[in-house]
Each structure stands twice: as structure tokens, then as C-alpha cells.
Amino acid sequence: MFKTLIIILLSSVLVDNYVLSRFLGICPFLGVSKKLDQATGMGIAVTAVMLIASAVTWPIQYWVLNPLEMGYMQNIVFILVIAALVQMLELLLKKFSPSLHKGLGVYLPLITTNCAVLGVTIQNIIDDYTFLESMVSALGVGLGFLLAMVLFSGVRSRIDESNIPAPFRGLPVTLIAASFLSLAFMGFGGIVENIFA
């Protein structure tokens, strides 16, 4: 039990990193990773939203959609629930914790249609996770996103200072740098299966 959870957590942080090996949430990864503070804020906001979204969508799937035999409505229901949830979270933060809203809330609208959030909720259902397992997997994916954002913001600040040939300036060099970071993460392949061996 505990072992399964550890495996899920480690593999979603390192091996199956959503950004670098499954390419979900590329937009915020490339868009908001220019500065370390922005990258950290975005990463934490995404982690929080993933946890809340998984906590809400899992019961909806198993207690509402499945008994009614409406599994095909999954996509529509999940995206609406996540969008409404994010908007609500922003309003609540604005009202009750203006300082937290200033730090994290500004990133929330950007997450509404983030494919990593929808992706993790749907993947939890596809993988037949229990409630606890899907929460751990959401936490792992969120932390993996945060890790990738923070590492990459360091790379980005170096890129900004270097002299790059014109055709590669901007997006191409960023993608190629991300490719090398992804290559580094590939090195984690196989580590989780063998950790308990």
C-alpha cells in the first residue's frame, strides 16, 4: 500500500514528468518560466489546483457519472467543473486572503484551460486509481511541474544573457534547451521500479 503510493509519487515527479516527458502544460512551462519567482508561483498554483481538481473530479466520476452510466460525459463535466473551481478559488482568495491572491491568485486564470490539470484528472480515471492514489498522483504531477519550472527558469536566465544566432532567438532555443532538460530527466527511467528491489 505505502509502497504503491511512493512509487506513484516518485514516478510522477521524476520519470513520467508531465511537462518534460508527456508534454502536458507546455504553455505555462514556456510562458511563465522567465523569472524564478513567477515560475515558483505558477508551479505552486498548479499543484494546488491539481490537488483540488482531483479531489473533486474523482467522486464525480465514481459516484455520479458511473452509477448513471454517463461515463461519456466525463470530458464535458470535468472541464466545466475545473473551470468553475478555478474561478471560485480566485474569488475566494481575493476576498479572504489578498496577500495570497497577489502571490498566487494572479496565476489562476491561466490555469483554467491548462491541459495538465485536465490531463491528470482524466489519467487518474484511466489508471483506475483509488481516491488516495489519485491524490498522491496529483501531488506528484504538481511537484514535478514545479521542479521543471524552477529548473528551467534558471536555464532561461542564462539563455537571455547569451548571444544566439538570429533564427534560433526566442522560442527555438528555448525548445532546444527544454529538450536537454528532458534528456536529463530521461536518466531517471527505471529508477523507481528498482528502488524497492
Binding site: 494572479v106 491561466l110 484551460t113 485536465l118 533564427p167
Partner: protein, 228 residues
């Protein structure tokens, strides 16, 4: 060719404003589904079907949908068509369904579709929106297939699953894995810049133009992001 004519709208998406290589929209599926030619082509066609249907539908409803509620409305319409396409693929092409997996669901949040709804279909008549959908869809499919051909032929020495004999000993296997996707995509965008001599309306950084969230997002776009 007259700007704004039907033919212009149709061809624009294929080359001049290719969604994947020039507008840089739909990055996630571009990177994730181009490991194999089959998967990339299937993804392109599936996205094209959703794009045409949602463009037509949104264009029909453009005078009814209130401006403040447009993004949620668009998302529901798109999610509906994604579900239809997903069920069709599941029924008739089970192999493709397994290959694409969760990415088929994620067409819902593909920026190309929401972006075209926001940038084009919400403001233009039905016929033009349909043509825009066809053009953008073809452009997206071509870009994806092109990337997949590079990655599969060089990385796995196969073409759409058929082995290429003389390349068997020269596989660059990392191209068909995750890092290869980012690398090939970066190189292709640089190539577009060289071919067009920098004249393409290419996004040089990941800006907010075209991002469907831009309207109600005050993070990267307004304050500190774009000028940096």
C-alpha cells in the same frame, strides 16, 4: 489573391499562418503525438474534425452568445464535439484510440481550437469560419505529419510502422523519445524563420497573442512578461 477572400481564408492556415509552425498553437499535441506517423496523422484529422464543427457552430451562435460568457460557451461546444469524435474513433479505429489515449480528450483544451474560436469564428460568417477550420486543420495535420516523419524515420527507422531496410543500423533513437520532440520542433521553427527570411508573423517568444486565456489573465501579458 485578395485579402479576406474565401480562397485566402482557406489557404492562410496551410502555409502563411500555419497553426503549429507559425502561430505556435497546440504545442502539447504537436510534441506528444508525433512519435509515430500514424498517431500524428490521426491526431491531425481528429483535431481538424473538431475544429471544423466547432468553428461552424460557434459562428452560427456568435450573435447569441453573450460576450462575457463566451469562453465557457466555447469550451462546452468544443468539449461536446471532442466527445463525439472520441466515441467515433473508439468505435471504428481502436488502434488509434489506444495510441492517442488521453491526448484525444485533451483536444478540448487544444489552444488551436479555442484560439480559432476566439480569433476567427466568433467574429466571422459561417462559410468563412468553416473554410478557416479546413485550412487550419490541414495545416496542423501537415505540420504534425512532417514532424512525425522526421522523428519516426530517423529515430526508429520505420515509416508508419513499415521498417526501412537501409536505415536499420543508423537509428538515432532519442529522436523518437520525449527530448527528440522538443529538439525537432525547435529546429523546425528555426527553419521556418530561415526560409521566410524572418518575414513570417512568427511568434518570437511565447507571448499571449492567441492564448484563449489572455482576456482574463493579468499575469505574464500585461505587467512584466512580454517586453522581457
Amino acid at each position: 489573391m485578395k485579402k479576406g477572400s474565401n480562397l485566402d481564408v482557406l489557404t492562410r492556415g496551410v502555409l502563411k499562418e500555419n497553426p503549429a509552425l507559425v502561430l505556435i498553437l497546440g504545442t502539447c499535441p504537436t510534441l506528444a503525438t508525433t512519435k509515430t506517423v500514424d498517431g500524428a496523422f490521426g491526431m491531425g484529422i481528429a483535431a481538424m474534425l473538431v475544429l471544423i464543427c466547432s468553428n461552424v457552430f460557434i459562428s452560427l451562435l456568435r450573435n447569441i452568445i453573450p460576450d462575457t460568457m463566451r469562453i465557457p460557451c466555447y469550451i462546452v461546444i468544443i468539449a461536446g464535439f471532442v466527445t463525439i469524435v472520441k466515441l467515433l474513433v473508439q468505435a471504428y479505429m481502436p488502434d488509434l484510440y489506444t495510441t492517442l489515449g488521453v491526448y484525444l480528450d485533451l483536444i478540448t483544451v487544444n489552444c488551436i481550437i479555442l484560439g480559432r474560436a476566439e480569433m476567427f469564428a466568433g467574429k466571422n460568417p459561417v462559410v468563412k469560419s468553416a473554410l478557416d477550420g479546413v485550412g487550419m486543420g490541414i495545416g496542423f495535420t501537415i505540420a504534425l505529419t512532417m514532424m512525425a516523419v522526421i522523428r519516426e524515420v530517423l529515430g526508429n527507422a520505420t515509416f508508419a510502422g513499415t521498417p526501412i531496410p537501409f536505415l536499420q543500423n543508423y537509428k538515432i533513437s532519442f529522436l523518437s523519445q520525449a527530448p527528440g520532440g522538443l529538439l525537432v520542433y525547435g529546429l523546425l521553427i528555426a527553419l521556418v524563420y530561415i526560409v521566410t527570411k524572418g518575414k513570417a508573423p512568427l511568434k518570437k517568444s511565447f507571448s499571449c497573442a492567441g492564448c484563449p486565456n489572455a482576456a482574463h489573465c493579468h499575469t505574464a501579458c500585461t505587467e512584466k512578461g512580454d517586453e522581457a
